[in-house]
């Protein structure tokens, strides 16, 4: 049915194909440095290859290349959300719910890290022990030492899982608190979450 042109697709460059294969088997985001060392090329070349794959995926495929938690990850495209969710393997995968309180606590930690429990409680106006426990349990925050001084309270920081969950490459990619003010309040967001950030 498809006649002319089909055979004429431009193949990805050899480096891009190697990078693609590596990202396909990787379980976590892979950094440019590691990709360069594994493919035996420079970081610049790898960066170019990533750009090449990214564009190709965006234009032609059901896949995406994501830049998260300091590395690159292959993922399905947001347009395929429905069909992928329908597919049993994913539907079966672990799902945990984050409450509003958890998100709020996460926001405080993310923007004021490293921070202590009492600072979080000060801002939220409510005890936050349990929420912190749960966030620790899900690996979204971690203990990162103690503050010097009276009481030497524990300090909390966000983790790489936090970055992955929110699609961020690093904490500096987080919109500023000012920018966040312009984002729609949660209650007004429809369930389909049809927004891209």
């Amino acid at each position: 049915m498809v006649t002319s042109g089909y055979r004429g697709e431009n193949p990805l460059s050899p480096i891009a194909r190697a990078v693609e294969a590596v990202l396909f088997v990787a379980v976590q985001p892979v950094g440019v440095k590691e990709l360069a060392s594994v493919t035996g090329s420079t970081e610049e070349v790898v960066a170019g290859a990533l750009e090449e794959i990214k564009e190709r995926y965006r234009d032609c495929h059901g896949l995406r290349l994501l830049n998260i938690a300091g590395g690159w990850s292959m993922a399905t495209s947001p347009e395929q959300e429905e069909v992928v969710t329908l597919f049993r393997d994913v539907a079966l995968s672990q799902r945990v719910r984050l409450s509003k309180a958890a998100l709020e606590t996460l926001a405080v930690v993310a923007y004021s890290q490293p921070t202590t429990r009492s600072e979080i409680e000060e801002i939220r106006g409510v005890r936050s022990e349990r929420v912190l426990d749960t966030l620790l349990g899900h690996g979204l925050i971690k203990v990162a030492g103690r503050r010097k001084g009276s009481g030497t309270p524990l300090l909390y920081r966000t983790t790489d899982s936090f970055l992955s969950l929110f699609g961020l490459n690093s904490i500096s990619d987080l919109p500023t608190l000012e920018e966040m003010q312009d984002i729609l309040p949660v209650d007004e967001m429809s369930d389909d979450g049809g927004r891209d950030i």
Binding site: M74, R97, L103, A107, I123, R130
Partner: protein, 244 residues
């Protein structure tokens, strides 16, 4: 790991406060505590979904605000580092608390949006389900795992952990443990649905600490308020029967 966002309810008393201010119940400037309590009561009557924990947290916050104000009115005692609540009107106090909180409230909403957007793309690596993976080098995860095991074992061995008396340090510590009452309500519901009806003494029969006693009692009262349980005392000074 896929996480969903739970958007229902409020994240805490300040969230309620913001909601009240935004929904026009209270003007943003010149809020007084008495006005706040009046509007909040009205809000509670309209909004039956508010849980007992939310109410407790709200009133605890108000109490703390008042305590701060009182301390500010008194001459500073030596060593008192409560310089935070400076002399000022209630309105200024509440406003400053809200002002500090608001950006984070918005950030939480923003994060929810980002999480939803990110949640639309799926990565592989789901081949191994279940146990979370830890990055090596996280000392505190390692320690937590150990002490959790120690605690589990101690409990399993039947040795009841020592009940620590809650420190009484003014109002801040009396905020109820999040969830406890609701958790207890669920437990009572399960008991009720399996047995049909229960005697109050049965419910309290397994309760040993004072805190658990209070929580159980609050749970029963809350269930009665919501019409999820009927309380009948058939004989004067007799046991109370719980039924649906």
């Amino acid at each position: 790991m896929r996480l969903d966002v739970e958007l229902e309810g409020f994240s805490g008393p300040l969230d309620v406060l913001c909601h009240l201010v935004e929904s026009g119940g209270i003007s943003a400037s010149g809020i007084s505590v008495s006005q706040l309590i009046r509007v909040y009561s009205e809000f509670l009557i309209e909004n039956e979904r508010a849980t007992i924990n939310e109410m407790a947290a709200f009133f605890s916050l108000i109490a703390r605000l008042l305590l701060g104000k009182l301390k500010a009115l008194l001459p500073p005692s030596p060593g008192n580092e409560q310089a935070e609540f400076e002399r000022g009107s209630e309105a200024e106090l509440i406003e400053s608390v809200l002002e500090r909180y608001r950006p984070y409230r918005a950030a939480a909403a923003g994060l929810a949006g980002m999480m939803q957007a990110r949640g639309r793309s799926f990565t592989r690596g789901g081949s191994e389900e279940g146990p979370p993976w830890f990055d090596l080098g996280d000392l505190y995860s390692l320690c937590m795992v150990w002490w959790e095991m120690v605690r589990r074992r101690r409990e399993g061995a039947g040795a009841a952990p020592a009940v620590l008396e809650e420190e009484w340090d003014g109002i801040p510590t009396v905020t109820p443990e999040e969830e406890q009452v609701e958790k207890r309500m669920v437990e009572i519901e399960i008991l009720l649905s399996s047995k049909g009806s229960l005697q109050m003494s049965e419910v309290f029969g397994t309760v040993f600490s004072r805190q658990a006693f209070v929580v159980t009692f609050l749970a029963i009262l809350e269930m009665a308020r919501l019409g999820r349980v009927h309380l009948v005392q058939e004989v004067l000074f007799g046991d109370v029967r719980l039924s649906r």
